[in-house]
């Protein structure tokens, strides 16, 4: 059967995982972290298909540990069992030479507690032809530009110590815009457990209706402080910036964390700000590449104060900290910001006059150590007068402190918490998502 159609990744790669477990010679520990996907990708532009294809890719990060020394070798797998066994054996042979030439690693970490678990989440994926039919038909004469990605996605860990962990799902998303000219567009990230063509068509129809407001002349603002309502997607962008080293133990210890002030309690967010890494709620794998299990939920910010860092087993050894089962990069995969008490339907009235930001774009730190960041408004950001959206906003740059935005300027958080799937597909698709409500701010500093 074609490797481009087979949906059962666990069956395809069980032999490779077994090869990792059996590779160790006396005194050695062998591990393997496998990532695999078969993805259909469809790009749309002007309501038509721009580019479409399928990618089958799997790679395994092999690690050899011997006498306190270690090295890793990431090898792409073909999906052919015999071929992959040969590749894995050759990689371990090379690792033996490298490790023999290495020195002891004082921060070496691997879980000594072997765990066996397997999670397979089912859902209904569409036939790719159906994706093209449904989206193009629903777009009609609208200028729809967007991207569908779907297919089996898996990761697993095996070791000579007896680990055997697997997580597999069939996620998909349709991330699209209905463009209203220039840079104005209604942006939607649509994902459900089951593909339902009528729900997709309904989403596109709603976006087309919402895009009509964007045809009005854009409001041009002068720099200054403006009241603001951040849609959940915009607030998720801000919260996501905390994940750029904010919670990382390594970044906190080495002067790179934008949340250093929060950690030392020299600054705080509003007491309503509670952030956790909610792996269980998001269906994200609860194990990592050193074989450690990860908690289903870890509170990171509680009542506006720092609650816990993401500590990988390696950082735990380097900095003598208790580890929290974090990934090697110490990033949250399912950031979740708790909701507040403002009903979404009341948000515009509560805003009164100001900007309603649908999405931010290209956020970056303008002063990382101080938690100050800059970015642009994008897509269907609106100018609102007396609770009524009246015009699209000509894009504006903001430059402001995270501690101000989620501290002194935070008036309310929305009651509904929206789940926003991680649509990044650099190198591979992702399991992650961010959950966030909207936020009402007394002031957002627009600078250009």
């Amino acid at each position: 059967m074609s490797t481009l159609r087979h949906p059962d990744l666990q069956a395809r790669f069980c032999d490779a995982m077994l090869a990792v477990q059996q590779a160790a010679r006396p005194g050695e520990t062998t591990t393997g972290w496998l990532s695999a996907e078969v993805s259909d990708f469809v790009r749309f532009n002007r309501g038509r298909v721009r580019q479409a294809g399928t990618v089958a890719k799997a790679s395994i990060e092999l690690r050899l540990i011997h006498h306190g020394r270690q090295a890793s070798f990431t090898q792409t797998l073909s999906g052919l069992a015999a071929d992959d066994r040969l590749r894995i054996a050759a990689a371990f042979d090379e690792l033996r030479h490298i490790v023999g030439d290495s020195e002891p690693d004082p921060h070496l970490a691997v879980s000594e507690v072997s765990v066996c678990r397997s999670t397979r989440l089912s859902s209904r994926l569409p036939d790719p032809a159906e994706v093209c039919d449904v989206v193009c038909s629903a777009a009609g004469d609208a200028d729809l530009v967007g991207f569908y990605a779907g297919g089996p996605l898996a990761c697993g860990f095996a070791s000579s110590l007896g680990h055997s962990m697997w997580h597999e799902a069939l996620p998909w998303f349709l991330d699209y815009c209905i463009c209203a000219g220039g840079d104005k567009a209604v942006k939607v990230t649509f994902a459900e457990p089951e593909w339902r063509p009528e729900a997709v068509a309904e989403s596109i129809a709603r976006a087309r209706r919402e895009a009509l407001l964007l045809l009005r002349p854009a409001k041009v603002l002068a720099p200054g402080d403006y009241r603001a309502w951040l849609n959940p997607a915009a607030l998720a962008d801000l919260v996501g910036m905390m994940n750029w080293g904010g919670f990382s133990a390594s970044a906190l210890m080495s002067g790179h964390s934008p949340l250093a002030r929060l950690k030392t309690d020299s600054d705080r967010f509003h007491e309503r700000v509670c952030v956790c890494d909610d792996l269980a709620g998001a269906g994200v794998p609860q194990f990592q590449s050193d074989g450690f299990e990860r908690p289903g939920r870890l509170d990171l910010i509680d009542g506006g104060r720092f609650a816990a860092a993401l500590v990988s087993p390696r950082s735990a050894r380097e900095f003598s900290l208790p580890d929290t089962g974090a990934t090697a990069h110490e990033v949250a995969q399912a950031l979740s910001l708790a909701g507040g008490d403002l009903a979404d339907d009341d948000a515009m009235a509560a805003l009164g006059t100001g900007v309603a930001v649908s999405n931010f774009w290209y956020l970056n730190w303008s002063d990382r150590a101080a938690g100050r960041l800059t970015g642009m408004t994008r897509f269907a950001s609106l100018w609102v007068e007396n609770g009524e959206p009246v015009a699209p906003l000509s894009v504006m740059r903001f430059d402001d402190s995270l501690f101000r935005l989620l501290g002194t300027q935070l008036e309310a958080l929305g009651r509904s918490v929206h789940r926003i799937p991680d649509t990044q597909t650099y190198d591979s698709r992702s399991f992650g998502l961010t959950s966030a409500p909207g936020a009402l701010l007394a002031g957002l500093n627009l600078t250009l």
Binding site: T3, L4, R5, S39, N45, R48, V49, Q51, A52, G53, V55, A56, K57, A58, R69, A71, S72, T74, Q75, T76, G79, L80, A91, D101, S102, D105, P106, H107, P128, C132, D133, V145, A149, D183, A185, K187, S254, H256, A260, T264, S266, E318, W361, Y362, N364, W365, S366, D367, R368, A370, T374, G375, M376, R378, V395, R397, Y426, D427, R429, L448
Partner: protein
């Protein structure tokens, strides 16, 4: 004949279908000494094939790491299915879709001197790491080198299009100083590896890594003690390691033709440049000359043939400040031409690997040298600031309103270089910023830099790009410092 070549030649295709196969093999290795500890070696080996099929007015693709005859045939069959779908729903009705035109182009690595053995490289990294931390206020220090060797074979209907090999070297040093709640980072090539070239051991020498640790550590401490960059409108002198980012974000991306055609509006964004601007739009002052040049041996994104089989050549993009050409592949140029705006292509269809389809990208986008010099530009500046080494970048989705930050700032007053300042930032608008270009350094001060991490596309792709630039002086720019 290698087995994989035989497998490519054996792929069958129905009448009316054209097929291309791009086989990419990459082997990379990272060596690092982080906070005094030699890190475990990481090696990666990757190989796979991208098969593209043309049928009617559609192109489809399928990528696989199964390079057997059966695996490649399955990918071809899948790509053909997609081509039929695209033909049915596609954007390209009535358009003659371009095919690969290069044949049998062979290009080898551009290595002047082989890299040192692993043990020697580790020893050099260890020495520089020690030199980075000669003060306890240095809380983070790292010396690294990333090495990659890539080979790429392209075929079209079983004919060889190209056979190219590349060797990439990315060295860096980094030191972070911290005290009293403040921290400052100084690097050799930027925190995102702006010093990157093709080559061998000579790249490590050119980077200044050998013997550079003491300077980087010292400068991190200087920044920690420096005052905040003042705010106001000043002249701005940008060193090449910030020019690279300025070129990248506010010339390279806005000229990408697929953005102008709207393909990227859902993700990377659109462009303030429109199809009617080519040949007449005053992009910058008359000192601004910019080229797309994938040919220099050693520059980071040089190649012989792009990933859709078009032969690469140098192309002027902006001449004496006037916009001339977009960065468009043969397909994008055909689309623009069909829309009533005839433009020539620039052989810039590129993919991040075998598992991604080509899209319009930058390769090397270079500022042509002028006649000034760093010393002269400083002498000619009454009230300004010198900024070195990018650290922060943000620009709107039309690539117009930007804000960039640097690691290192130094005030210029009355023609003299003065105090070091920390957290230097500046903001502007692409459409007007380049018109304030007042002087361009000469070829003697041009540096070949780039980034390994240019992100774009759906699915996402991170590619290597190169940017060569001398220092440049701009007048009347809004500069400012940071929070504390």
């Amino acid at each position: 004949m290698a087995p994989v070549d035989a497998a490519v030649l054996a792929i069958s295709r129905p009448p009316g279908v054209d097929l291309s196969v791009r086989i990419v093999r990459e082997r990379s290795r990272s060596l690092a000494v982080l906070r005094g500890v030699v890190q475990p070696d990481t090696v990666a080996e990757d190989a796979g094939a991208m098969v593209c099929a043309w049928w009617g007015h559609g192109v489809g693709y399928a990528a696989t790491a199964d390079l057997s005859r059966e695996g490649l045939q399955a990918a071809a069959d899948r790509a053909i299915e997609w081509a039929r779908q695209v033909d049915r729903h596609g954007l390209f009705d009535g358009l003659a879709l371009p095919r690969p035109t290069a044949r049998a182009v062979v290009r080898g690595e551009t290595v002047q001197r082989p890299l040192a053995a692993r043990r020697d490289l580790i020893e050099q990294l260890r020495e520089e790491a020690a030199a980075l931390r000669r003060d306890p206020r240095i809380v983070h220090w790292a010396s690294t080198v990333q090495l990659s060797r890539v080979s790429q074979l392209q075929f079209f209907n079983a004919e060889l299009v190209s056979d190219e090999s590349f060797s990439y070297v990315v060295p860096n040093l980094e030191a972070t100083a911290a005290s009293e709640g403040r921290s400052q980072t100084r690097t050799l090539g930027g925190q995102y590896n702006g010093f990157c070239m093709q080559g061998g051991d000579e790249v490590i020498d050119l980077s200044g890594l050998r013997g550079g640790g003491a300077r980087i550590g010292r400068e991190a401490l200087e920044l920690l003690d420096a005052p905040n960059c003042p705010s106001g409108r000043r002249s701005l002198l940008l060193a090449p390691d910030q020019m690279l980012l300025q070129i990248h974000e506010s010339i390279g991306h806005p000229l990408e033709l697929d953005r102008i055609l709207g393909d990227e509006r859902n993700f990377a964004g659109t462009s303030f440049v429109s199809l009617d601007m080519f040949g007449r739009y005053q992009y910058g002052s008359t000192l601004l000359n910019v080229s797309f040049d994938p040919t220099p041996a050693g520059e980071f994104a040089s190649y012989g043939v792009d990933d859709e089989g078009a032969p690469a050549a140098r192309v002027p993009l902006i001449e004496r400040g006037v916009l001339q050409r977009p960065l468009g592949s043969a397909l994008s140029a055909a689309r623009a031409t069909a829309a009533g705006f005839p433009v020539a292509s620039t052989a810039n269809a590129r993919a991040s690997g075998w598992h991604r389809p080509p899209i319009d990208r930058m390769a090397n986008i270079n500022i042509e040298p002028g006649e000034s010099s760093m010393d002269r530009m400083i002498r000619d500046t009454e009230h300004g600031v010198l900024m070195r080494t990018n650290v922060s970048w943000s620009i709107d989705d039309s690539r117009n309103k930007f804000q960039f930050g640097c690691e290192w700032g130094q005030l210029i007053e009355n023609g003299e270089l003065g105090a070091v300042v920390r957290n230097p930032n500046y903001r502007g608008v692409s459409a007007t910023f380049w018109r304030s270009l007042a002087a361009v350094g000469s070829a003697d001060e041009q540096q070949w830099l780039g980034t390994p991490y240019c992100g774009k596309g759906e699915p996402g792709q991170v590619v290597r790009v190169g940017h060569a630039a001398p220092p440049c002086l701009f007048h009347d720019v809004d500069v400012f410092g940071a929070e504390q």
